[in-house]
Amino acid sequence: MAKIYTHDLEGNPVGLIDLSLEVEEGQIFGLVGPNGSGKTTTLKLFLGLIFPTSGSGEVFGYPLGSPVYKERIGFVPEGPYFYDHLNAVELLRFYGSLFGLTGPSFQDRIEHLLRLVGMWDRRDRKVADYSRGMLQRIALAQGLINDPDIVFMDEPTAGLDPIGAIQIREVIRQIRNEGKTVFLCSHLLKEMEPLCDTVAILNHGVVCRTGTMRELLADEDSCYLATFRGLSESSLQQLQSLAVSVEQQQEDTYIGNFRDQNSAVAAAQALATGGVELLELHPHQLSLEEVFIEAVGGIPQ
């Protein structure tokens, strides 16, 4: 699909230039990309708010924009804004009623969602008085009101305090664990890395890499890193002889770089007799940040 808004001064298209995606059900799919790369544009296409300049797409087998699949999706917008005159309960009731939800089970669902996003205690406050983070929380609750099979989210943790962000990430995992699909747009790579199952990297409107998180982060010449504490002069020398390289981290903490898992474990056992403490042992992985920067062609000077 492509959505070209205009062309810039040099005649290059602006917008979403080449999007080709397939999202499998039951996973957290992350669409990451720098500002202006076309994440929000992608979501708007999925929701039928804008129309592709070329190409087409489907959600659950229905053409984009069809009201049929909208029964089964949820949407958490970026920088959300709602009708001012409603309070949290009224707002959820309004959006739920659009799906024809009524009755006591609907009331329960409203309470459940407000508790889930931490707004139950503040449910009587009017949207007009909400802080940025409160708007974000209620936006999530409204996106889940119909118990959707797929939730589209645009920067869902923007404006949230650290606790709020952790809670929201927990909610996102919970949705996935119920077998639902989450389509997540963000540029917060540190947050996306432990969260997403599959990632697509979008740059200048073009998807430049896709794959499962494990595939993307796998390092070709992988090595093992072991972190030790409490090394004496002699045990440090011992470590240096066993490891490929040693790097000092904090005053008494060292990271040894080993060729494989076995040599790392052997070294740890040998050092343990000298009272050295093994803090951490893990294969070296690329970070999503590194993969991302490589995919988008480095940091401009």
Partner: protein, 274 residues
């Protein structure tokens, strides 16, 4: 239906939070409530003056409310992006547009009703006194008042239908142009529509206009809404019972007009990116 109703309801509630519209309403009510104090300007014709100013004020302030409300109904949703969460739900653009329109119409109805009630109170208090003055005045007109209050109610009803057409025009104009241009356009249509008879005269061959402009005036006469048909003040003063058939006729014209406007609006809005 459900979506239209819910969106209309939300639109109605949001509209009452618009300070500017509240201001127009309060101002209108003040003018109508105090209209009897100006009647000394036309000694002997106080009652005529009361009805003229009262109904005139309802139409005028109603017109301001209808236009300023109408042109903001959809642009507000686009600017604040509240439309995104709505259209992400099983809500079609047609339902959205109709919901906004009917919410706007309901708001106008409530505004007209409040001004109408104010006017009725003033009328009830002052009418018999003014009639007495008129009867005693040497050259003053005398009014029979058998049908007067029924006719006033009908006039207010017609004012409401007139404003409904105007809300439709304002909504359409805001979709076609920006809201500011839409407001200017709506005012233009409203004032030209008030002079529909004049346009017909201009277009008639006897008037001697050159053929091109006479065609233009003719086309304008045919496509513009004839807002003057909603003004039945003269009939009220004659105290003829305004027949239901006339009312039905005018209302039918209004409804046809609204349907056409909304259909054009839908065709444009359905293709619109939001």
């Amino acid at each position: 239906m459900r979506a239209i109703w819910l969106i209309a309801k939300a639109t109605f509630h949001e509209a009452w939070r618009r300070r500017f519209l509240n201001g127009i309403l309060v101002f209108g009510i003040l003018i109508i409530g105090s209209s009897w104090t100006f009647t000394y300007l036309q000694p002997g014709a106080e009652l005529k003056m009361l009805i003229d100013t009262g109904l005139g004020a309802i139409r005028f302030f109603g017109m301001l409310i209808a236009i300023f409300l109408g042109v903001r109904l959809i642009p507000d949703e686009l600017e604040k992006q509240t439309i995104h969460t709505l259209l992400a739900k099983p809500v079609t653009r047609a339902q959205f547009m109709l919901g906004k329109f009917f919410g706007g119409v309901a708001t106008v109805f409530a505004n007209v009703a409040l001004m109408g009630i104010t006017f009725f109170i003033v009328y009830t208090i002052k009418a018999s006194q003014f009639q007495k003055i008129a009867a005693e005045a040497e050259e003053g007109a005398t009014y029979t008042m058998i049908f007067m209050s029924a006719n006033i109610a009908k006039a207010i009803g017609l004012a409401f239908f007139e404003l409904t057409v105007l809300v439709g025009i304002a909504v359409l104009a805001s979709i076609l142009f920006s809201w500011i241009l839409g407001a200017i356009f709506s005012f233009f249509i409203y004032f030209v529509g008030q002079m529909a008879d004049f346009l017909r005269e201009l277009s008639s061959p006897e008037h001697g206009a050159d053929p091109v402009s006479s065609i233009i005036f003719g086309v304008l006469y045919r496509i513009l809404p004839h807002f003057e048909i909603f003004d039945i003040r003269e009939k009220i003063l004659m105290d003829d019972l305004v027949p239901w058939s006339l009312l039905g006729n005018i209302t039918a014209q209004a409804i046809i007009y609204i349907v056409v406007i909304l259909m054009i609006g839908y065709l444009v809005f359905n293709e619109r990116e939001v």
